[in-house]
Subunit: 256 residues, 2 copies
Amino acid sequence: MKILISNDDGINSLGIYALAKSLKEIGDVTVVAPITEQSAVGHAITMKAPLRVVEHYINGEFFGYAVEGTPADCVKMGIRNILKSPPDIVVSGINHGSNTAINIIYSGTVSAAREAAIMDVPAVAFSLTSHISRDFSFAAKIAQDIVKEVVKNNLPLGTCLNVNIPAVPENEINGVLLTKQSKSKWDDIYEERTDPYGKSYYWLTGSLVEVDDNLETDQFAIKNNYVAVTPIHFDLTDYKTYEEMKKWNIERKFVE
Amino acid sequence: MKILISNDDGINSLGIYALAKSLKEIGDVTVVAPITEQSAVGHAITMKAPLRVVEHYINGEFFGYAVEGTPADCVKMGIRNILKSPPDIVVSGINHGSNTAINIIYSGTVSAAREAAIMDVPAVAFSLTSHISRDFSFAAKIAQDIVKEVVKNNLPLGTCLNVNIPAVPENEINGVLLTKQSKSKWDDIYEERTDPYGKSYYWLTGSLVEVDDNLETDQFAIKNNYVAVTPIHFDLTDYKTYEEMKKWNIERKFVE
């Protein structure tokens, strides 16, 4: 099994190292990841600047390819240029911090998986629900299990999985659930500060306003110590509104 | 009517100027846009760096607020900090270049509108299907019409419209159609070059592989000189695959 690994925390992060180590037990792993942290870059791609790729070594041993770009760039570059043929699966992560609910939209980790889905390659994004924990051992183990399931079951083309793993000791994990994207959103606050030259600047902060009350949503599942597995796609059409808008009388033909 | 305008081409672009001029005829316009071009940034937000906001003048006259950030940053900052209360509508564009098909995923213009939808504010993104044309006159006129329709008809919360306008003379426009996101995708190529120091670098290029054959898709509609209006949302859950995956036996509960 040929596996391409990327992430958004950068090639030097603990999460990608744990993921690569675990997946090397079941396949032929190639790592292509951003040279610097790219959190919250969403599905950005680099078009107005050239990309560079450098080999990345850990303790003098080749680990993977570092790209001066975004997670989506890494997946494109990995599939189109670095690998000689498409991988069997693209795996992104393990992210430091959860990517549930609306964070799916902002996440570079998820966008790496979604870019693979766009390229008709099965993909999974993994996130550990803590920015602090340095223990990726259970997450790396469950990642291996889920990757095997995805390859065995043939994930439909155009779909990828977004997996969030509670950052609790393994014996506190309650199970694995299929989930949907929660409707919880951020209450943003811009904290204003003044620089030494008297000019204002702003830090984005805020809190997630949780609206979930059942285990079918990713956010509620992780809060209840379940691994949450959400299938996502990239067709953003709102079909329900599409039908409703037919009543709007917005369509018109100037010619027949 | 209170209107917040943003874009991804930057506050100094011709498209945002034409849009602001047109919408000032029907409402109270505030412009909050990136200080530099932010094409293809997707739904990136700035979290690891502070944001700065400066007033932007055209011919000595105040035009709007320039943000050292992404389109999504501008909408968040505009709604949370610059305006005293939420606008009636957020309008993004007019983008130089089409945002149909898979480009919806990569587009900063569309992400600005989507960020507004996330914040429960109605929103529309407008794109002119040319990177070259400097004539935004028809696009600015149709934008005014569509903004009026959106406010009149109460777009559902969480949905925004993605509007693409063919870059042809007004008398060649065949009409306005409700559309869906086309499944056309890019065949990416990384063009390799060598810098003066002997190191390789890569430019992303490629062509859109068009798979559409009916006017219900945005890409086919614009190719046939129709304005394409696609409702989009931010629930990325693939509900069909969610149901299919119930047969996978991936779910497990370790405790009862």
